[in-house]
């Protein structure tokens, strides 16, 4: 009897080890493929020049610029809305009030919408209805809608993690809620807010489907916010699917993208240290 249990235990253990090894091996495989394929193509010129010959040669300079602008538009639109909603939900509104339930439900719904549907919405609303056409503005605003749920939930988690004793002490000292918020609670929650911001940035630059029909494909340096611009993720997509022989620059661009995301991930870990990370990490 005991021997059978022992075999079962060992079998389970080895199966689990096998699974873990498989996953790790595939991960390393992907990273090494990317590095091998793209490291030779990577150079300072690559990062700053314009693409020539549909991207087969030249660099990704204008694309990095467009990506930056789209990101800036998205964050400028999303951050104020998201953080005010988070402060409201965490400090002023009880979780059972009607208003609180509606806001939380809407954000939950938003979090579940797939990115291609955001692309459809962005196209219908920003590009066509509001007449922005294929532009950085349109793409950035669509991304802003996508970022709202993640920014709100991380900010709210950060504020709720500040101990209640601070609020009670501040109230006992006769401080108004606004003052305790500005001088005490927001500074204490700042690392969590920063971590949430970085997660949002990471999500935004990885996004492709929402941008195809909103910010367009043009790979020149954008002249204004209403110009079309190509994001880095879109560039990788275009090079691999539509441009025969575009694999090398695609590998290099993918390497740049993954390296950026890696830096963001490391910064998030640094900021989220000590907080309950499972509350902040997106799943």
């Amino acid at each position: 009897m005991n021997k059978r249990l022992l075999y079962r235990d060992h079998l389970a253990q080895w199966l689990i080890y096998l699974a873990v090894l498989t996953v790790s091996a595939v991960f390393i495989w992907i990273l090494s493929d990317l590095t091998r394929g793209g490291i030779t193509h990577l150079s300072w010129d690559f990062l700053t020049e314009s693409p020539h010959d549909a991207g087969r040669s030249g660099g990704i300079g204008p694309i990095l610029i467009s990506t930056f602008w789209i990101l800036l538009v998205a964050l400028t639109a999303a951050l104020p809305l998201a953080w005010t909603a988070a402060i409201l939900l965490a400090e002023f509104v009880s979780s059972s009030s009607r208003f609180g339930i509606i806001v939380r439900f809407s954000l939950q719904v938003l979090a579940g919408v797939p990115s291609i549907v955001f692309g459809l919405f962005g196209n219908a609303f920003f590009s066509i209805y509001l007449g922005m056409g294929f532009s950085i503005l349109s793409g950035g605003l669509t991304l802003a809608c996508m970022l709202l749920p993640i920014l709100v939930s991380t900010a709210k988690a950060g504020l709720c993690a500040v101990p209640q004793s601070y609020r009670l002490s501040a109230a006992a000292l006769g401080m108004s809620k606004t003052a305790s918020l500005i001088h005490l609670l927001l500074p204490a929650a700042a690392p969590a807010l920063a971590a949430g911001l970085l997660l949002g940035i990471g999500r935004a630059i990885a996004e492709t489907a929402a941008l195809i029909f909103t910010s367009g494909y043009v790979d020149r340096v954008p002249g204004s916010l209403l110009d079309s611009g190509r994001a880095l993720a879109l560039h990788i997509f275009d090079l691999s699917m539509n441009v025969p022989g575009g694999d090398q620059p695609a590998y290099a661009s993918a390497l740049v993208l993954v390296a950026l995301l890696l830096c963001i991930n490391i910064l998030v870990i640094k900021f989220a240290y000590g907080l309950q990370r499972k509350r902040i990490m997106p799943v």
């Binding site: 009670l168 002490s169 501040a170 006992a172 000292l173 006769g174 401080m175 001088h183 005490l184």
Partner: protein, 292 residues
């Protein structure tokens, strides 16, 4: 009974108004205990649970009043009702009257922020803000009007910070590191910092919820000494589980007990009477250690 001329005008301002020189008469002690807080039939309910039922007592100016009794009989709730901290608990209902200096503090005309400036509160676990020592004291000052916009205000702030830190005996220990983090202080130092922070607003009354129970014995002794030094200048209401501490420093004692599932005031009087000649049998049992 002769009354001093100044006393005939305002009976309540015993230690505050100037005395005119006149012929000396013998009379009652000028410091008859005057109540500064009058609680009438106070009841506190959290949802359906009755925390306090029908409490009536007076807190006398300048003295230390100890609230004693086992856990769960509403002493902390009573304290929180005095500075309207119960407003922050949504399900809490307060009935009855609490008068501070003659006016009901649960009236709608009451300025709660000013009330909390006059009544300071110290919690069981020291809660210094995650800021520097200086900023911990300066922040509530700024809130209540002393800003750093002018040079005069900056000097006033510096003077107040030094004064309160001296009052609590922390000045010698931290004068060279006022900008260090408050969280780097030891437990006893943190609690004294919290007291200094409350004193910076020049309150009349200090509410203390078991201020020494989270501290080690030495720090506890230091804080206790501070509390007895503060009496006279300030009115102190102290919740404590430590009967020996109450006997040592308190002037008045109020004994609470849970009866019929609600906290009730069993006996209130001068500390010596409560401990040596209690009138209620429960009080006698509690202070002698046979119950609770």
């Amino acid at each position: 009974m002769t009354m001093y001329p100044s006393q005939s005008a305002k009976k309540n301002n015993c230690c505050e108004s100037a005395f005119t020189l006149g012929p000396l008469h013998t009379g009652p002690a000028c410091c008859d205990p005057q109540p500064v807080v009058q609680v009438e039939s106070l009841s506190l309910q959290y949802g359906h649970k009755m925390a306090l039922e029908n409490v009536t007592l007076d807190i006398y100016r300048g003295y230390i009043t100890a609230l004693i009794g086992p856990s769960g009989c509403g002493k902390t709730s009573f304290l929180s009702a005095l500075n309207r901290l119960v407003d922050l608990i949504p399900a809490c209902r307060v009935t009855g009257r609490i008068r501070v200096d003659g006016r009901d503090i649960y009236e709608s005309a009451c300025d709660v922020q000013a009330l909390r400036r006059q009544i300071g509160m110290i919690f069981q676990k020291p809660v210094p803000f995650p800021l520097s020592i200086r900023r911990n004291i300066a922040l509530p000052l700024h809130e209540h009007g002393i800003r750093q916009r002018s040079e005069v205000d900056a000097i006033v702030e510096q003077v107040i910070v030094e004064q309160v830190l001296r009052d609590v005996g922390l000045w010698d220990e931290v004068c060279d590191r006022l900008d260090a983090a408050a969280l780097s202080l030891s437990g006893g130092q943190q609690q004294r910092l919290c007291i200094a922070r409350a004193l910076a607003l020049s309150p009349k009354i200090l509410l203390m919820d078991e201020p020494c129970s989270a501290l080690d014995p030495i720090a506890s002794g230091v804080v206790e000494d501070l509390i007895s030094r503060l009496s006279g200048h300030y009115t102190i209401v102290l919740v404590t589980h430590n009967l020996a501490q109450a006997k040592r420093i308190a002037n008045y004692a109020a004994f609470f007990w849970v009866k019929e599932r609600a906290g009730q005031l069993i006996e209130f009087g001068r500390c010596r009477n409560i401990f040596e000649t209690p009138t209620h049998e429960l009080t006698a049992a509690y202070v002698n250690g046979t119950r609770g």
